[in-house]
């Protein structure tokens, strides 16, 4: 068990003690146009510990780690490594300071060997030529020292996921990192591989290295971490000792205690189904099923929530409903029509609204004015279009109406979308989708990255639309949102719907337990 050999050293040495902190972040604030991704972050990581940074998706963990790894510079605050303030201009600076990053998505060249991948970018040379013997010697040394079990000459494309991750770790160690950042390292692993990874982390710790472990899987965090920092909505909300903190307390820190009062709401669910999924299966590049035999029904006036840890097939399920990804098996029915073979446009025309997960990528044209963004996704329908032509005046007028009715704060329809804050962009998207009077709305993380004010506006809009008979598929990582809005709540784990819960009775902790699989496998902690 990884929890058995937890080291007790360094525990007494606080920030002011003689042992300087391996990494300290003070008051880090990072803004992107329209969003504050991190605000006043405080993080203190002691040398030789596994420090977990937990938070929901979109809470700002990745932004923070990019700051620490020098991928961008913070707008405010200080970064201290070993007690000295540093200013990283690029990851190269961070590496030089002994910080290494193992990305969630591996950055390996498949057609290279393990050895070649590890040395790539910092090749040992002798008289201008690659010194293979030296590289081999150092990799063997790293592999032995940290029990990584690397085969230097194996091709990366022949390796399993766990092995690839160890190659990534070796890459970082090869560059003499003393502090390793692991970004969601378990997201891609099966339980057995997770155990192996945790054994590797124990080795690293024993050798005095520091590990920053980013995750949102609370049970894993409690197993492996020596201390925990919780991030919510872009800022640190607390630290916890995994030995004395329960999963329940962690979850409360993570999602916030301010759960909406369980309002007595009249159900608006009607009988007519608007969307039926029958055995929907989606595979990734033809092999592994990422959505596995999902069957569900959304009726008029019903909000069907899909809960789940990100990466368990929710995004692919949304794509399947929208026609952005072909099905390997199963059928999608809109009303009584089988739309499995329909294009995205045909589906949208027949009354499907879409609030995409990543509005910058899928929901907006950032460099285009708002009125053009009003047209996006509604290219075939009035008021923005007359026959084959764009109705500029109509689009502008309707954009102005949306801005009024949905409280989009911007100078005018000719403003570029990029100038709007995240919340205003999202309100425009919601207004645009609602204006087409859809039968079904597919909403993926509709309030992610928006400020609290916009969030409540969007929630109200969704509730009103539901009352008018709109069927909503709500994918979210915000447990408050799921519990507060859903009429039916499904939990998705590894592509399958593993539980159906009554949102009026479930608690965030129970829901969290189902999301991580802890509820079904064991009694959970």
């Amino acid at each position: 068990m990884a929890s058995g050999d937890r080291s007790a050293d360094g525990r007494g040495a606080a920030a002011t003690g003689d042992v300087p902190l391996a990494v300290e972040l003070r008051g880090i604030t990072k803004r992107f146009p329209g969003v504050v991704a991190n605000r006043d972050i405080e993080l203190r990581v002691r040398r030789g510990e596994v420090h977990a940074v937990v938070g929901e998706n979109g809470a700002g963990k990745s932004t923070l780690m990019k700051t620490l790894y020098g991928e961008h510079r913070p707008d405010e605050g200080q970064v201290l490594v070993d007690g000295r303030e540093v200013h990283f201009r690029s990851p190269a600076d961070a590496i030089a300071a002994g910080i290494g990053m193992v990305h969630q998505h591996f950055m390996l060249a498949d057609n290279f060997t393990v050895l070649e991948n590890v040395v790539l970018g910092s090749e040992p040379t002798r008289r201008g030529r690659l010194d293979l013997a030296e590289a081999r010697r150092r990799i063997a040394e790293i592999s032995d020292r940290y029990s990584l079990g690397l085969r230097a000459d194996a091709l990366v494309e022949d390796l399993g996921v766990g092995d690839r991750q160890r190659v990534e770790i070796a890459k970082v160690l090869y560059r003499n990192a003393r502090t390793l950042i692991l970004d969601e390292p378990t997201a891609v692993l099966v339980p057995q591989e997770v155990d192996e990874l945790f054994a590797n982390l124990a080795e690293l710790k024993r050798e005095g290295l520091t590990v920053i472990f980013i995750s949102h899987k609370l049970d894993e965090v409690r197993r492996v971490a020596d201390s925990i920092t919780v991030i919510r909505r872009g800022t640190t909300v607390g630290t916890a000792d995994p030995r004395t903190t329960t999963v329940k307390q962690l979850a409360e820190l993570m999602v916030g205690a301010e759960l909406p009062s369980p309002e007595i709401r009249s159900s608006t669910v009607r009988e007519t189904p608007v969307l039926r999924l029958a055995g929907v299966t989606v595979t990734d590049s033809g092999r592994r099923p990422v959505v596995d035999d999902v069957t569900l029904t959304v009726r008029e006036g019903e909000v069907v929530g899909i809960a789940g840890v990100e990466g368990n097939g929710q995004a692919e399920l949304v794509d399947a409903v929208m026609g952005l990804r072909p099905l390997a098996a199963g059928a999608v029915l809109l009303g009584d029509e089988d739309v499995t073979g329909w294009s995205t446009r045909a589906r949208r025309e027949s009354g499907v609204g879409f609030i995409p997960e990543d509005r910058h990528r899928q929901g907006m044209l950032l460099d285009a004015p708002l009125w053009e963004n009003r047209i996006l996704g509604h290219q075939t329908r009035p008021p923005a279009v007359k026959g084959p032509f764009i109705d500029r005046r109509g689009a502008r007028a309707d954009t102005a109406r949306i801005m009024r009715e949905y409280d989009v704060r911007a100078p005018g329809p000719d403003t570029l979308a990029v100038a709007l804050s995240g919340g205003n962009q999202q309100k425009l998207i919601v207004g645009r989708e609602m204006s087409a009077r859809p039968r079904l709305l597919v909403a993926a993380h509709p309030t992610r990255g928006v400020d609290v004010g916009a969030q409540s506006v969007i929630w109200e809009l969704l509730k009103d639309a539901r009352a008018e008979g709109l069927g909503i598929v709500l994918v979210s990582a915000d447990l408050d949102e799921l519990i507060g809005l859903s009429d039916t709540l499904h939990v998705m784990l590894r592509g399958r719907l593993v539980a159906t819960l009554d949102p009026r009775r479930v608690t965030p902790e129970e829901l969290g337990g189902h999301m991580t699989g802890a509820r079904t496998t064991a009694g959970a902690a």
């Binding site: 329209g34 605000r39 910058h360 990528r361 044209l365 032509f389 100078p411 570029l416 804050s421």
Partner: protein, 404 residues
Amino acid sequence: MSAVVRRVGLSLFGPLLAVLVALVISALVIALIGQDPIEAFSVMVDLGDSPAQQVQSIVVILNRAVPLFLAGLAVAVAFRMGLFNIGVEGQYRLATILAAAVGAAVVLPGPLHVLLVIVVAMGVGALWAGIVGVLKVTRGVSEVISSIMLNFIALGLASFLLTGPLRGSPPGASIVTTSEIPESGRVPGLNGLLTAFGLAEPRSSLYGFLPVAVVVGVVVAVLLERTRFGFDLRATGLSPSAATASGVDARGMVVKTMLISGAIAGLIGLPDLLGEQFDYGTEFTAGLGFLGIAVALLGRSTPLGIALAALLFAFLDRAALPLQFADIPASVVTIIQGTIVLAVVIANEIARRLALRSAERAGAAAGSGPADDGAGGGAPPGDSPDGGRRVRTGVPGTPEDVQA
């Protein structure tokens, strides 16, 4: 209102800055080769002494600008969708020789004959470019690679056709050409119009294809800016992922865009073919496809901008001859053109960032949200969610952006 003025100002700022930087660099180069830059520039802007010479110079510029404009349009249509059609060169060469052969082979009443030649040229250009589109959506071949490869094939094919089946010139002639297009297939010049305006009669004839090019420009402008199709096309260029999510069929758009781009490319050779040469030969104007890329870049892929860019390039091209008379190497012109293209890519990016920053300020001023919201708008957008910052200078993004 002032925001509009500001935006227009910013969009002009890039190209003007580029031209200015190019002139400075060129002046340095001219000085380095031991010539007087001032003299060189004055030779270039001197259109002639007599009114007749001046009109002649302007006609030469316009005649050169027409094919450059069409080439720029062909490239720009693909640019706007995020595709890099480098194959314009091959598309127009192949289109021109086949159009010339068809034009020479038939005799039809005037307008019909010309129309047939135009249709053949556009068809051939579209087909040749269509291959690129089909390869991209079915096999995932980058359009950059396939269009370059198809250039070689097109040029080889054109040479083969010219020396083989389509040869019209007598054996042993120094210049190999196709047969001449008869009178009915030619587009008469517009010199009558010039004299009607009281201008001196130039030696060369102003191409009758000029109004055709203007019409094509207007059609492209309307297509891009005012139609649903154009919206889909531009949306795909701005954000392939957002366009797909909005219901645009990315694969279909790739093929359609390449077909349109190729059809316009097919027209490039026609002003020369139907206005002056009347046959396609070894001496036929080459390189217009590549110049079109430069023109489209300079014109920021908008029809009006491309028209101005084409006029500028044509003006520079005309200066080559007078420069030689003044004992200054004509390659000065090429240097200026080259530096303009280089400078424009940089200047456009600077202008884009300035525009974004001013837009962000405007947005921050209007939104009375939290105080810290959007106030730190120094960073360009797009590097927050996916880490990938796309540079939009009119140059399309990476090929996989539009991969279907």
